[in-house]
């Protein structure tokens, strides 16, 4: 029982990162209909930026989360202004997908140039690295990762549901043309969505790196798993993104615990296909999005 509980908690932690990636992808997709496959790459870029910032400033974990979130809110805003916005005026959605794949490769290349091919990690935010809760031996960083997901969700919910900016964002998501006619600056709203997705990637990367080692080639698994989580949850749905991410993390964890890694990978993707056959729009998406 203890073994199963530890496996599920480990899966939830990994799934939290997928959820944060899927959340960023879904936010951008709902505002601009661009599937940003490079979202996972920015998680690794943010994590390694966090390591460098920590090395120079020696600040606490929470402070580092804020600093890197601000940096990546700006970085993704620049990406929107310099790449996505000009490209989306000329390119169709399928071409935009290729452009975001290009961004993914570019981020991987930049990581290799700037940080080399060595793996990077960071010490846990809390001095006591491991605690025992109800007989379960858990890393304190688990709580930081889960906490970051919960805080991000609450902040996003408050922004979308309780602010005038959120109203504009929801209007843009529903019908950008109508929103524009009502005086909403759609480009600005999309820019803000990119900034928020940058901040989400940043907190995911900085929170997870103390639990693992990351380097330039870990951008692809994050990009793939984040995308799978977003599709599983239903592209465009925030609650779906979170459900998809957590479910994928737990399914991967349980399958890896009781089978071998290659079989676990096949079974995880097979279960995704099965879910999409039963629910083509994903767990929380709308069929209109699928047919669009």
């Amino acid at each position: 029982m203890r073994d199963v509980a530890e496996t599920v908690i480990g899966g939830l932690v990994v799934g939290s990162v997928y959820a944060l990636i899927a959340l960023g992808m879904s936010l951008i997709y709902s505002m601009s209909k661009v599937i940003n496959l490079s979202q996972g790459a920015f998680v690794v870029l943010a994590a390694l930026t966090g390591v460098s910032v920590q090395h120079s400033l020696h600040i606490s974990g929470p402070a580092l989360l804020v600093v890197v979130a601000v940096i990546f809110a700006v970085v993704l805003a620049v990406v929107d202004l310099a790449v996505i916005r000009p490209a989306s005026r000329r390119a169709s959605p399928d071409r935009m997908l290729l452009i975001t794949v290009g961004l993914l490769q570019a981020v991987g290349g930049f990581l290799l140039l700037r940080w080399g091919n060595l793996p990077y990690t960071m010490k846990p935010f809390t001095h006591t690295a491991v605690v025992t809760v109800l007989g379960l031996r858990l890393s304190t960083q688990f709580f930081w990762v889960l906490g970051v997901l919960v805080l991000s969700l609450v902040a996003l919910w408050l922004l979308l549901q309780r602010s005038s900016l959120g109203l504009k964002m929801r209007a843009t998501a529903q019908d950008p043309q109508a929103a524009s006619l009502m005086g909403v600056d759609v480009d600005k709203v999309r820019l803000i969505a990119f900034s928020i997705s940058g901040a989400l990637a940043a907190v995911a990367g900085v929170a997870i790196i103390p639990l693992t080692f990351l380097q330039y080639d870990t951008v692809v698994p994050y990009a793939v798993d984040g995308f799978v989580a977003a599709v599983l949850g239903g592209l465009g749905s925030s609650s779906g993104a979170v459900m998809g991410g957590l479910l994928l993390g737990v399914v991967q964890g349980v399958l890896q615990r009781y089978t071998n890694a290659s079989l676990a990978e096949i079974l995880a993707i097979s279960s995704l296909i099965l879910i999409l056959l039963l629910r083509p729009a994903g767990l929380r998406g709308s069929l209109a999005e699928v047919r669009r």
Binding site: T7, N117, R137, R257, A261
Partner: protein
Amino acid sequence: MIRIRRGLAIGMAATASLSAAACSSSSASDGKNYTIGVLVSQTGSASQLGVGELRGAQLAAESVNAAGGIGGKKIVIKAADDQSKPDQAVEQARNLLKDKVAAIVGPSVVGSCKAVMPLVKSRGPVNYCLSPGIKPADYTWSASANTADLAQAGLNYWKTKGITKVGLLSTTDGSGTDGAAAVSSASAKLGVQVVSRATYDPTAVSITSQLQQVTAGHPQAIVVWATGTPVGVALKAIQQAGLNLPVMTTDGNLANAFLKRIADYTPKTLLIPATRDFWWQTLPASDPAVKLEKDYHDRYQTKYNEAPDFGPGVGYDAVLNVAAALRKAGSDDPKKLRSALEQLAGSQGVVGTYTMSATDHRGLSLRDVAIVQAQNGRFTYVGK
């Protein structure tokens, strides 16, 4: 139409430049010197190995040349970078073949070595792959000790310490699969039991579940058969799980940079089966290898201001062995050179003592392997 014309123009320009390149390439082994192509990963993911391998190869060439060369001819190193990509390895190998090099030393990793092997399979020249992970044949050689010997040395050491139940964590790539098979085979031979095993993707960022699978078998020690980052991920998971078991990993992790990277997460006992360049100081002063080892380590330390790790040793020995074969063959004719290299017997290198044959294109054995422990940023000999 404009697009077609532009395409034609580009095509013509490319053809012209290719023709120019072909005309300018003459035999690199020009009668005065022997040119050895060193095709390693100077950039990209395997550069951690490749940079050291090139340094080792250059050091060996300097050593041979300083001693008068080979029958009055000097060794010239022609370096090529495969950027850690098999397709680039093939491209660069083709260039070296055009340049008629006497031998190709490299590439650095299994995938690139396997990509280059067909180019030299029937007519040569000798290709000295620096990865231990291939099965060498025809004109191809492989550096360092083979996986079976490394696994056997590791498990045998543990057996002498009373450890007979081990857990096995390995990656799903070629190196991990080969290693897992070698551990299984060695365990059967030695009477050591693999009580639990789990695999993980080399790019996995968390292996908590797999570690639980391994610890469920209550092993006395854990083998992590992986190289580089995946080992770091495993060591971190072991630390987070609060496990205090001895861990063994592969010789691909005998890198100073990697040791620094995992300094905070190194288990109390982290063992690695290693070739002689990591434990030569334990040899008696009368051993014929000591002078060569001391000279190599001192010169490397002086030139690069660091101790050599895995890469420089294999690069050094590959050039040294090719030089010995050139001396014996008296020419760089591929057939003669292959035959001479196959006849190398008791030849001292820094990695070990080589005895080759037509069926053994590696030349090292279990006697060239001992166990070192990663401790305080260094590799320390602990036994055989």
